[in-house]
Structure formats: C-alpha cells, structure tokens
Amino acid sequence: MPHEPYAVEMRGITKRFGTITANRAVDFALRKGEVQALLGENGAGKTTLMRILYGLYHADEGDIFVDGQMADIRSPRHAIAHGVGMVTQHFALVPPITVTENIILGYTDRFNIDLDAAHNKVAEASRRFGIAIEPRALVKNLSVGERQRVEIIKALYRDAKVLILDEPTAVLAPQEADELFESLKRLRDSGLSVIFISHKLHEVMAITDRVTVLRSGELAGTVNTAETNQADLAKMMVGRETFGVTKSDVNGRQGDIALRLEKISALDSKELVALKEISFEVRTGEILGLAGVSGNGQSELAQVLEGTRPSTGGRVSANGREITNAGPEQIMATGVGRIPEDRHESVVAEMTVAQNMALEHLHEFVRRGMLDKKRIRAHAETLIEAYQIKARPNDRIRTLSGGNMQKVILARVLERNPSVIIVAQPTRGLDVGATEYVRQKLLEQRQRGAAILLISEDLDEILELSDRIAVIYEGEIMNVLPAAEADIERLGLLMCGVSV
C-alpha cells in the first residue's frame, strides 16, 4: 500500500550508556503534519531517543529515515540540515544579545551582517509562523515563555520540517502553555510535524494526534489520541493498573492546632518583601495544601518554617512552643519534620546515604566521643529496607535517582514520627511510581495524626491530598477553603489574585 513517506522514521534504535540500556530496539514514526506525543516516566528513554534524532547522541544500533531517505545524523548540524529542529529544556540562547542575533547566530557564514535586513527577516518569520516576538529585544529581558518562542522561531527559521519540544510546558505558566498550544496547532495545520515530549497526560490529550509511549527504554505502543484516554495512557506508561493514591475520607485524629503562623513576614534573597503577614494554622491529622503560582512566596515561607530564612515579623509556634526564627536544630526538637523544596540543597551530594541519614541528628550517633559507624550503617540499612530505597548505605547520594534521593529525605524525617511536617514540592521531577509512593506516605502520616503543611505548585497534588487548601498570591494568603469547596476554577482565580 503506497503511502506518503514519514517525516521521520526511526527503526530499531538501541542506545546503551555503560551497562544501562536507555533505548532498546525502539521504532518511532512521525507523520507529516501531525503532533505526536512521546510519553513516558522519567528515565523511560524519551529524551535519549530524541537526542539521537537531533544528533546529540549516536545510536548503537538502528537507522533513521527522514522523508523516506536514510539519514546519517551525527551532530545537531546534520539534524538541522535534514530539517530537524529541537527545543531543549535548557535553552541555548545568549542572554546579552538580541533575539535576531541569537536566531542568526551560527546560521550565517558571511563576515558582515546586515542587521536591519536580519531584523526584518525575523519579524517576517514571526508573522508567518504566528509566534509573536520582538526581534530587537535583548534575550536577557525576556520571560521564560518568550525565550522559548525565540528557540522555536530559531528552529523554524532554519527551515525545520520537524520540531522536537522537550517538556516545553515544564517552565511555562498555564496561560503561556495555552499560547504555546495555539501556536503548535497553527504550525501543524501549515504542515509542520511536531514531537512533543511530556509526562503530563492532560496536555498530551489536549494537543496531540497520536501518542507513542515508552516504558523502561522500550516501546510500549503507539495509539491515536482520539481513541484513548488518560487512564489507558497511564496504564501504558507505568505498566500496571492502579494509578494515583486513595485518600481515606475519614480523617485521622484531627483536632488540636499543631502549627500556627501569626502575621509572618519575610524578605526574599533580593531583600524584597516576599511574605506579608501570613497567618494560618494546621491541625493534627490534617493536610493543609498551600497552592499558588510559582514565585509567590512559597519558597520563602518554606524556608522560614524550616529555619533557614529569618522572618521580619510575626510569630510561629509548633506544638505550643514558639519557634519564631529558631534554627533547624531547635525546630526539629519541637517535633517538626522538614522535607524541603530543593532536594539537592538538603543532602550532601558527595556523602553517603548513611551519613546523610544521620546528619540531622548526629549527636545520637556518637559513642565515647567517636562516631558510631556501625550504628550509622545499621540505621541506614533499617531505613533503606523500610522505605524500599534502591541504594546501599555507602553509595554516594549523588548517584541516586531523584525518587530514591527523595525517599532518603522522607525516611530521615518520617522515622522520627514528627507531629508537624513541612513539605515543599515533594514530587517535583519524580516519576509516576515515586510520586505515588511519596503521596501515599504523606497520607499515612496524616492518618497517624501528623499536621502537614503541603506546599506545592502541582494543583492536582494539592487537590488529591489536602483537607483544606490555602492559596498564596504575591506573599499573601488569598483564602483558605475546605477541600470540598475548592474546584480548579475557583483555585485558579485565587491563584491569579482574584478574590472569590
């Protein structure tokens, strides 16, 4: 049956890194004028496959065909010559120069550049592709969303027929993501083929024509988006039926106020006001979710409660004891457990799992003035077993995956049965399996009677876990709602600063 050749076809791609096989005999085909999602958990091999297509890696086995012709792509330069462009998660832009200069950078061979003509060409491209961008703007003054548009124009300007987007919405605000989707639809209708790497199911459902799912480096299948649903895709991704955690409707022993904030104010790292008189309380046996768009004071609030940032006004107390501006040690001594936003800033990467597990309470591991190495190791072995951490006590933390690193931190905190838990962005960057595990653990703690403040930018997470939801906007609490009264629309408005 004759058919139009694929825009891109990859056959039997295998790629190994040392002993790890990142891709195993993967077939992938992209039709002309379609948006196809490449879906999979972290570490499923999506990015590796696309880096091979873009010439950043070279496959150990397998062939690539572009427009029906075998293509030897050994560097991004070859890929661009074959009409393949890629926008990676980390932009390759030079901040101090203009949009136009960034776009023509490395693309012009001429010694002198007619900048006016170049500006006009970029402006024309911007119009033609329907992606608004100011050619003369300096990249350093652009928002992340605008920078992404520059990257897309850069690829299109080089006559890309195939555009690879690596988790493009990870850095975008919801409105920016919507704009991106509109642009992609227009580009698709004008004949561009797009590969959309993601692990967000609702995005995949919203924008793509077909979905290819990878699981542990292997092809799990390719389906038409119209003929599938989120639950089926999730099943293909994780290879098992159950998905998501189940929150028991019965609360734990909910009752007394365990954490109380009264008019807490604080500055951010640039000495600007980040928190304005924040007050709320968390009771035992409940999870209070703090929702908000990134950068509205969540990080600063977490740091104030963790004891790593001073507050400039107000009071904090935990279990009836004041901990305003106390250090981490004092805070932990009142029964507060802390799971911070940035995993890498809270473990010492070059130290072992066992050492990191003992670090917060080192004085408990001293015998006759010396470190009790046996106890440190035994302690680690117990926690590794109890929390199913894939690591050995003497492995350096930096060799662990994000999920296992988070489990180390979780284990370190939860083993002490804290009565108050401050947890920020607990599942950021984790794959589905680890995410589920972390959420399940938090619910167990709630059941046990802990008071949990869950600070998260993942609204689904907030909705799934919280008993009450507070919304923070520009350093102020907009409202605190019982979970039953909170729906996405209402939260969305509050997150944008609209009182409802």
Binding site: R338, A349, L359, L371
Partner: protein, 352 residues
C-alpha cells in the same frame, strides 16, 4: 575517528591512583627541561628519587625536610576539608615561628619539659591568632578568605623583618637574625649527629589527630558536610559559620606548629627565610595527598625527597637546583588537572 568527551565520574577505586599518575605525568613533561640542559632525564630522576634513599644520612635528611611540610600540609587539609580556603599557612607559620622565638628566648634556666610544651602551645596559638581575622571576616562579612589569608602572608613577613631589624637584631653579629633561643628550648635530636628532631614526631602526631578528628568524630563529619555542601549542612542544623571558623583557626594553629619546629628544631633563632615557602608547599602537599591525612604524610615525604634530591641532582648533573621547585609546581597543576579530568571520560568512535 570521532572523539567525544562525556561526564562520567571515575570509579572510587581509581581515585587513590590519581596522585601516582600525576607524579608520572609530571616527570614526563619536566623531562623536556632536563633535556634542555643536555642532561639525561632518567639519571636526573634517579638522583631525585632513588639516590637520596641510598644513604642513611640523606634518607634522614628527607625526613627533616618533610617535617614542616607534613604540618603545613595537614594545616591546609584541615581548612580545605571544612570548605575554608586557607592560603595563609605561610603567614601563620611565620607567626608560629615568631612566638616560638619569643618564648624560647625567655627560657634560660627553665627545664625542657616546661620550655618545649610552652613553645608548642605558643606557636599554635600564634598561628591561630593570625588566622582569626580572615576567618571572622569570612564568617561575619562574607569576605573571600583566599584573598585575605594570602595578603596577610606578606604582612607576617614584614612583621618578622621589622623584629629582626629592630628589637631582635643579633647584638653580636648585627645580622638581621634573632639571638639564639635557650638551650632547654631546643628540640632534642631523635638520632644523634643528625638534624632529625622532635618536630618529626610532633608532625606525625598531628597527622594522627587530624585523621582522627576528620574521620572518627561527629565534628569531623560536620566539617566535611560544610565543606561538601554548606547549604545542606545548614539545612541539617549544623552551625556552618562556627564550624568554618573552627576549621580555619585550627588550620592556622597547625601551620603555626611548622614555625615552631623550624625554629626549635633546625635554626635555633628566627631568620626571615625561616619558612622559604613551606606554607605554600603545604597546598601542594594537601592537594597531592587528596585532602586525606595519611595521603598528606606520604605527599610530604615525597616532596621532602624531591627537595633533598634537587641538591644531589644539581651537584651530579649540573641541572639548576630550581628544577626541584619546577617539578613541585608542575605537580600541583597536573594533580589539580587530573582531579578535574577524572570526572570525565573520552570516547573514541570509528567513523561510519
């Protein structure tokens, strides 16, 4: 052929081999200098590495030369492990030597068992005191200690010169050198009719203490945590400022001890060339010893060997004695380079 450089840390077993590879590589590249003066590199290296060990006298001399290097190397290690970049061992050594001289001059009629501990304590405190200002500025005002500790080295040398040209000028010879310290303050010899003195034992004891503190105590683990990730250490409730201050001060104190051993063990009076760069060489020793106490001991012995060999090689082959310094400097650069490069691997791939 296509060559690619990928990030991939070397396996743990490989790390101790890095200093050895660095030494071999350093000898390969410095061979060109030996060839420039028409000498045979192999015989030069024979005189550098083997000849000093072939006689008892010069083998003992290696230990003598290593003594201050063990101490400055341990001093630098103690600071670097704690994330405090003390480049001021040279100045701290000079202050230790000054204090040792000041005490030693007053010890006439005082028995050795009082005089010697007093000098050791005084030298330690003086080195510590000299390290105090930069450490406080680092912790309280976030002023880069690399600059302040380095600049204070010159200040320390000027203070020594001022003393030697002023109050301490030798009354008899009028040379800019201090009078001799009291006989009871002089370190006893370990081996009769050699220069090997009590300071060597002191240095080895310091190495053992540094090893113990860094690897066997909670404070050592906290220090390492601060050095390897200060934000994580702060998060875990470790008092980062205090830990850093202590590692900077103890480092200064250990460097001060190197000044004591040079005054009380070798010269018996203060001269402005009392150090001759031992403080800076300590940085080489600490790096080559991969910030490990036993590694420091080995590295200091190795540098002591090269120092001793440099004399022989210049006598035997007419190679300038400064070749020894060139080798040491090249060794630092090569070791640092290797330590950086171990995080990467090169992959060759045939085309097509």
């Amino acid at each position: 052929m296509q060559i690619k450089i990928e990030r991939s840390p070397a396996p743990v077993w490989f790390r101790p081999l890095i200093p050895l590879l660095a030494i071999v590589f350093t000898f390969v590249i410095t061979a060109s200098l030996v060839l420039l003066v028409n000498a045979n590199p192999l015989s030069a290296y024979y005189y550098f590495l083997i000849d000093p060990l072939s006689s008892r006298v010069s083998a003992i001399e290696v230990l003598v030369k290593s003594t201050p290097l063990i101490l400055t190397g341990a001093a630098v290690t103690f600071a670097f492990v704690g994330g405090y970049w003390n480049i001021g061992a040279e100045g701290q050594l000079l202050m230790g030597a000054t204090a040792a001289t000041a005490i030693g001059l007053q010890m006439h009629g005082v028995p050795a068992w009082i005089a010697i501990p007093l000098m050791i304590l005084g030298g330690f405190l003086a080195g510590m005191l000299w390290a105090l200002a930069p450490a406080l500025m680092r912790v309280k005002l976030a002023i880069d200690e690399v600059v302040t500790t380095l600049l204070l080295n010159s200040v320390a040398l000027l203070i020594v010169s001022a003393l030697l040209n002023g109050p301490w000028r030798d009354p008899i010879s009028q040379w800019p050198q201090s009078p001799e310290i009291a006989p009871s303050a002089i370190f006893p010899k370990l081996i009769p009719r050699s220069r090997l003195h009590l300071g060597f034992i002191l240095a080895v004891i310091v190495v053992i203490l540094v090893w113990f503190v860094l690897t066997r105590t909670a404070f050592g683990l906290r220090m390492r945590a601060v050095g390897m990730g200060s934000s994580a250490a702060r998060f875990a409730g470790i008092n980062v400022d205090r830990t850093m201050l202590i590692s900077g001060l103890v480092s200064g104190g250990i460097a001060g001890l190197a000044g004591v051993t040079e005054v009380a063990g070798i010269h018996y009076h203060l001269i402005d060339a009392i150090s001759g760069g031992h403080g800076y060489t300590g940085i080489i020793v600490a790096t080559l010893g991969t910030l490990n106490a036993w590694g420091v001991l080995l590295a200091a012995l190795f540098i002591g060997l090269i120092d001793t060999g440099a004399q022989t090689v210049s006598r035997a082959l007419g190679v300038p004695v400064y070749l020894g310094d060139v080798i040491q400097a090249a060794l630092l650069l090569v070791t640092l380079g290797f330590l950086l490069l171990q995080g990467y691997r090169i992959r060759w791939r045939r085309k097509g």
